[in-house]
Subunit: 161 residues, 5 copies
């Protein structure tokens, strides 16, 4: 039985953990969820590290919604840098799912984007843990999470796996 960690924030304006857990459970079995909630995205790196080291998670989803101001972009950069460090300190994948408040024109659009990106990355998380061939088979195919896929630059070339 594998363990998938879910770390989210009270700052986010969407219950990203609910979407992530729902999607994970729809995708497959063989895992247990470990959850933790922190105030904001800068609290995620240590929360994720504790999920890996103290609660034995095999992979973690780090869920957050940075604000729209310049200072929020810097916070997101600091959090992302920390999340990469955690991965290097633990040799464990952490799937960062950040949705920026200015990525959609209104609340409804932002909610939809957040739900879709979270679900899409929940599938990536499941595949990294249980089915890496799905990722391998999509290498270089211009996949996106939350937006429509960009697709390969040249369909003919892109198909030559």
């Amino acid at each position: 039985m594998k363990r998938i960690g879910i770390a989210d924030t009270t700052f986010a304006r969407f219950d990203m953990a609910r979407a992530a857990i729902d999607e994970l459970k729809s995708t497959g079995t063989g895992f247990k969820i470990e959850r933790t909630t922190v105030p904001g995205i800068k609290d995620l790196p240590v929360a994720v590290k504790k999920l890996i080291e103290e609660r034995d998670c095999d992979i973690v989803m780090a869920l957050g919604m940075p604000g729209a101001e310049e200072i929020d972009k810097i916070c997101a950069h600091e959090a992302s840098t920390g999340l990469i460090q955690v991965q290097l300190m633990t040799n464990t994948h952490v799937i960062e799912v950040f949705v920026h408040a200015d990525e959609a024109p209104d609340d409804a659009g932002l909610a939809e984007l957040t739900e879709n990106r979270t679900r899409s990355h929940a599938q990536n998380t499941y595949n990294l843990l249980f089915d890496k061939d799905v990722l391998r088979n999509n290498a270089g195919r211009g996949l996106r999470q939350g937006y429509e896929n960009a697709g390969p630059l040249d369909a003919k070339r892109g198909d030559k796996h």
Copy 2:
């Protein structure tokens, strides 16, 4: 008995530690305060690490007020990066409470914002140590510290815990 560290600066223009300690004591019991004061925010990372490693703190509040200039933004970024590193080196949460000098139009507004954000994060600190369910129950609910809460994007969705 848990230990809560409080690290603040002589650069700040508000006695953030007073507000933090007052709020912590109003919120609950079962902890002892360990304090340290340094010149500026770039001195906070090592001060916080020493509180954790040399004075056995279980969590630390890092309190500071970066100035309004571009160089101050860079200092704040460096300090924040260091505070995240400390957390990863010690597997200990550090709640950063930074109030930027340009976040309010005048001194009175800045003082009020600083007091409110510090108190709000003091509650987060207490909850991370003693009552993580409070955070879990507010996951994705758009909480803010010092400003009015943003709330969930979609009240109906947001309530589905």
Copy 3:
């Protein structure tokens, strides 16, 4: 028998791994390929570290195509910083091959640039592992990957090896 790791992404719009492997096999022998595919470039650092530490790679190519937006530039910076950290943690070279979506005017140009840069860095990878004299003999000669070589500032001086 040496091992060359290839880490690529599903986000990229070109099958960079195919070009890399094809070029490596055209260039020489004495190595085995170890592949891994992750969602995006921020997942590359830990994927590369795992190739080095868990699958015994002697060198790794990290292949990715950051998007054209400002946020993508920041992601690329975070990934690059992580890739340098991996190298310092493992004393192993990692050849980063990033092609930015705004480096060419259209899809065809981007595909060609990506193919050429990947192949050129595949040769660098091979040479770092098997034939460092090729690099040494080209020190300071203004080589480029994917674009025409810039050449030495002063052909006469530049030739004095």
Copy 4:
């Protein structure tokens, strides 16, 4: 007998070490000075680490004068990031005293600012080592180094220690 390290540069246009040592000696006793000089501010982090680990310093002043260009700002950021890392690796305070070439309108003003900031931080250094109550008693009081103190936002609140 404590040891205070002083690391400075040949790039700086002011003998900051002279001011620092003079101020330290005027402020108190019980310490020995260990000096090192490097070319520029990016050489300071390792120089400071060597003062701490190879020459047993209990605290270090890192003195530098970054230039006025954009590239110099980036150098200063890299040096500052390194100085914070040194502190976290050694659990030792390092007081960074950087004066940017564009902080004063002319050479005379820059010299005066540099002298004043260096002396002010020499006192901070002494107090961190020997008299932390001085810092504690000035928490949140808007102290500045080289410029006039900003003071507390609200004198009445600020006095409530």
Copy 5:
């Protein structure tokens, strides 16, 4: 017999290693040169670390010529950050000699600047290893590498060593 490492790139448009080695040999004796060449500046950090740890260098010169575009500035920042990390991981000085492609108006000027800066830093390298008093005696004297020295802000003050 000390060992001085020289790491350079095939991306640079000038044979910086030749200038560095020539200047080192003109300056003194008692050292052996260890060379390595990598594709670009982001490959320098690990190359330098390997010179220190696998080829026993006592100090290293890291030679590179970042391009003129914004992306090149970011690459240079990443490389510099990595070079500082190497120094902190090994307690060994690494003299970074970077010449940016936009520091001179034409190829001839860039070549001259590159040669002069490289030679000047070769002397710094030699002095850090064999004659630290030369650096100490020039503390705060506004030395530059490749450009005319800026000199001390106030000649009278500056002379008071």
